[in-house]
């Protein structure tokens, strides 16, 4: 029997933007077992959410994740709106879709850049991040901040987008799409990238469902599940078809994210085209009472909030399940059987967001 070795992968590793440790048991160069360890960036957000005013929590939950901050706020606000029976005005729902999809696009740009960086494709990494910079500029101009945009509020949104800025977004999207075309073409067709992603880290549809995978990991295995099809915000009126790929390997997950960038481009354009006039927010009256759940689709997958309120200004329970939390068990199932050299790319292929996971 070959000698088995245990190697710690992380918590600090060039491919990991955030700390997670995988204890890998190797049989020569082949991974036999992977045991994840988390707990390096726990911040106690759930507990903090029980100590703050329910309106102030919007700013707290946004800080769980810097990459999809708006979508966290959206999920929280939708839950509270359900508890308080608040009807959000149509214009606010469309604006929420615009900001959500811009967030999805910038998150996928960031990830595609990191993937290129993991292969040592520095220039490609720069192309994606330069394109992402245009999206950040859109946030700055429309929302007043680049990362944590703080535009979602209970009952609607806090800012309107002026017609000039809507035109500015449309003009920028043309440039973004052109650069994206070139860069995605390299990611999907380059020989080296294909050699290191095709057939690596395979997750079958059955495994993905059994292990509770979400988002591009699940859709990359051919399961068409996307929380946006439930029709929250204005997704119901805009209509959305989940992007799926059949293979279930790292390449399929990459392709799902690349195609979702185009889907988001399309959704933003259609949302701007159909943007109705009217109010952007209603003032919520009273305090939340009862228990509810809220689900939205983040760039990494389905985000789930449970909130319990007792009619006071503070929630008595806030439970947050983030997509990476759900995608860690599928990652552990993907790794056995792969080569040690493929572990970084397979780990990256679930788009791990550890600060989200640990909250």
């Amino acid at each position: 029997m070959a000698r088995r070795t245990t190697i710690p992968f992380g918590p600090q590793h060039p491919v990991l933007p955030e700390p997670i440790q995988l204890k890998l048991t190797l049989d020569n160069e082949t991974v036999v077992e992977a045991i994840p360890h988390i707990g390096y960036v726990h911040r106690g957000v759930e507990k903090a959410g029980e100590r703050m005013d329910f309106g102030q929590n919007v700013f707290l939950v946004e800080r769980i994740c810097g990459i999809c901050s708006f979508i966290h706020a959206l999920c929280y606000c939708q839950g509270i709106e359900k508890l308080m029976d608040v009807e959000v005005p149509p214009r606010a729902r469309y604006l929420r879709v615009i900001w959500s999809e811009l967030h999805r696009m910038q998150s996928h740009h960031l990830w595609l850049g990191l993937l290129a960086d993991a292969f040592g494709y520095e220039s490609l990494f720069m192309q994606f991040w330069r394109n992402r910079e245009r999206l950040m500029d859109i946030f700055e101009r429309t929302a007043g901040s680049r990362v944590i945009i703080s535009t979602c509020a209970i009952g609607g949104v806090r800012r309107d987008i002026s017609p000039e800025n809507l035109q500015y977004i449309l003009d920028e999207l043309v440039v973004i799409q052109k650069t994206l075309d070139d860069a995605v073409d390299v990611v999907l067709n380059d020989r080296t990238i294909r050699a290191r992603t095709v057939g690596k880290g395979v997750l079958t549809a059955k495994q993905a469902l059994e292990l509770g995978a979400v988002g591009p990991v699940l859709r990359g295995s051919g399961v068409a599940v996307d929380a946006r099809t439930e029709g929250f915000a204005a997704y119901g009126e805009l209509g959305i078809e989940p992007v799926t790929e059949e293979a279930g390997d790292s390449y399929a997950r990459t392709k799902v994210r690349a195609r979702e960038c185009y889907q988001s481009l399309d959704l933003v354009r259609r949302a701007i085209e159909r943007l109705p006039d009217g109010d952007i927010a209603v003032r919520p009256r009273g305090r939340p009472d009862g228990r509810t759940v809220s689900r939205v689709e983040q760039p990494r997958g389905e985000l789930f909030y449970f909130m319990g309120a007792d009619g006071s200004a503070r929630l008595d329970r806030l439970r947050i399940r983030t997509p990476t939390f759900a995608n860690v068990p599928p990652l552990v199932a993907m790794l056995p059987g792969c080569e040690m050299a493929d572990v970084p790319v397979i780990t990256l292929s679930i788009d791990p967001c550890i600060s989200c996971t640990e909250r």
Binding site: M52, V58, F59, E133, R141, G144, S150, R158
Partner: protein, 120 residues
């Protein structure tokens, strides 16, 4: 694609800006430096009540307002809460500093230039 990219990178200007030689025009509506106009303030405490980060402390009987810039998250809730428009977020950035002084003012008006932490 690669050759065109190499050529365009060779002959085009860098995508980045040579900061601080050329700085960027501030964007209208950016939530930047927080400014209090103390002449207008009636110390009602609405800003402190709404602040999610507890960065503002108002003592109504003593007529004092304290603002801790390190705690501030630039959400503009204070500006929304203030009925008299005493709090505003300018589109300029807070300049980088080693220490952010706690901004404090009381009922007796003092010169804004002396106390304001937000400088151009």
């Amino acid at each position: 694609m690669m050759l065109s990219r190499v050529l365009s990178n060779l002959f085009s200007r860098p995508a980045t800006r040579p900061f601080p030689k050329t700085s960027r025009e501030p964007v209208e509506g950016y939530r930047g430096a927080v400014e209090f106009s103390q002449e207008e303030c009636v110390f009602c405490g609405a800003c402190a009540l709404r602040c999610p980060a507890n960065a503002i402390e108002v003592d109504r009987p003593a007529k004092t307002l304290k603002f801790d810039l390190f705690k501030c998250i630039h959400c503009a809730c204070c500006a929304e809460a203030c009925k008299r428009g005493c709090v505003q977020l300018r589109s300029a950035y807070h300049p980088p500093v080693y220490q952010k002084p706690e901004f404090e003012f009381s009922g007796a008006p003092v010169l804004a230039a002396e106390a304001s932490p937000a400088t151009e």
